[in-house]
Symmetry: C2
Subunit: 331 residues, 2 copies
Amino acid sequence: MVSIKDVAAHAGVSPGTVSNVLNRPGKVAPATRERVEAAIKELGFVRHGSASTLRAGHSRTIGLSVIDIGNPFFTEVAAGVEDVASDLGYAVILGNSAGSPDKEDRNLRVLAEHRVRGVLITPSGEDPGRIDRLREHGISVVLVDHPAHRPDQCAVAVDDVAGGRAAVAHLLARGARSVACVTGPLTIRQCVERCDGARAALRGAGLDPAELRVVEAATMTARAGEKAAAELLAGDLPEAVFCANDLLALGVLRALLRAGVRVPEDVALIGYDDIDFAAASTVSLSSMRQPTYQLGRIATELLLDECDNPDTHAHQHIMFQPELVARESTQ
Amino acid sequence: MVSIKDVAAHAGVSPGTVSNVLNRPGKVAPATRERVEAAIKELGFVRHGSASTLRAGHSRTIGLSVIDIGNPFFTEVAAGVEDVASDLGYAVILGNSAGSPDKEDRNLRVLAEHRVRGVLITPSGEDPGRIDRLREHGISVVLVDHPAHRPDQCAVAVDDVAGGRAAVAHLLARGARSVACVTGPLTIRQCVERCDGARAALRGAGLDPAELRVVEAATMTARAGEKAAAELLAGDLPEAVFCANDLLALGVLRALLRAGVRVPEDVALIGYDDIDFAAASTVSLSSMRQPTYQLGRIATELLLDECDNPDTHAHQHIMFQPELVARESTQ
DNA sequence: CCCCGGAGGTGGAACGTTTTACCAGCAAGA
DNA sequence: TCTTGCTGGTAAAACGTTCCACCTCCGGGG
């Protein structure tokens, strides 16, 4: 394997000069620079990132920890992250917590061992402890789709209470009196807040928020949505259903239609996230749109700014507002 | 930052012993092992992966390079990869080539610098050169959803010619005489082969394969599918449309319905990949199912076997057969 | 003519592990 | 009693960079 020393020997300079060509090309005379670059090309040298990380004390790698890589929401976030990171020459290590704080812990440990420069994380639990532990190791953290735990930290989020409220207000506005809420695990903050928002909407309409029928699915997938719908079908059907994300909603929709329930005539339905497929479904799905790709982009920009300009960096808490997209399922 | 030396001092042993506790716990006496482990916990030591990689000469990291992270097909592959890798303690560095060989090159360079143990790649072009270059650096490569370039290399693929043939044969069997094919960039092998399969089916039915109307979309997304459909709508509508993936098909479906074309009565439609959302769409979409998650799992298992047992490892070329899933869009 | 300072370059010590060679102690076999 | 071999441990040399201190020119100001 060819190292910086080989390049140096081949170009007739010292290893330090090669390092300079690599990292501070301005500091070296054009003639020698060209000689070194030729040697690099000729020998097929590629810099050993680990050695460089070890010596320099920091890497050009960031971590991305998401709750469910199968969910288009996170996929789109990841696309935003990857675009920005790759433009700035950073590599992205992907971790999928699958909703399990245990797995998330293991992933964070791997990231810590890799001495990543920073971590983008959508936490799957509400324990800030293990995230703070990262900071103790000098790893910057930006929360994605989650409000900040503390002031000296960046976070990019979307107002979930407002989103839940707007979604249910929309259902009520079109005449529904009884509303059910199909949510994911109530250990996930987003789910809790969207439900809170739903109750706020009921309260706002002069209804009793306690009457909100909540069905808690084990995961936020279409399959789990179908199961949740079975539970709804077993009792008195509500006039409207609010789902905590589109995957659940698509599952609910599939199950309802299969059971002969008409949507939206018998039951109105609204999801959350406005994934691409919401518009293409059997009955096109109303949903709450979030600036997903932007979430990923901005979070990464904040993180890398924090890493590259630690002195001038100002921590920011960004809160987007979701937007109602009404389609057939709530006509 | 606490290092192995600090742990050693704190536990009253030499750094070598701490390293043994970390890597070969069996080699050290229970009493001292416990002492060391206590010290590790107490000091909050976390191993410096780069130092370890540098000295050991290999990392516990693999690279995953895909063509479009926004496509549920690749997402599911990635989920399989992540599950296996994470179980075996490997980190996954994600690269999204977005169909551009340039971007792919940049990603591979980053992976090479990180001295990843191996790379899983769905190549976006047909130039094996840059992939062979990885091998020269001692990086194992497994091709995903692509047949092997060479015998001393693992590959996991699905028979795209057979898939294209089965899809179009299905369209012909239900009476269609004129068939169009909406494909992605013809620089992508999958697209070419699926089209080839389509032509083979025409030939098999005694039709002229040259009559297959091919519309080449710039990307394999729903939006591109809508554009392609516009092109179809501008001329004589075919009786059936075969799309090279489900995203394209969903776009085509949306555009056709919006234009008042009935599916499947006026035009039958079939996609490819059988992503989750195919079953949930407006008119549920017929498709060719592939063992996507398994593709990721098996590819990763092959790669890690090649890395961890280089002597006993036998290179494998695995070829799955896709499976027709008929739904409303071809009833 | 001397000194100063900057530009361009060199040498070598560090970074935190892993690994190899080596050593001490001890038990068992002859 | 002396070897032999094993167990559990140590010391120190790498691994490939980066970076700091230092050196040598060389041109220009005094």
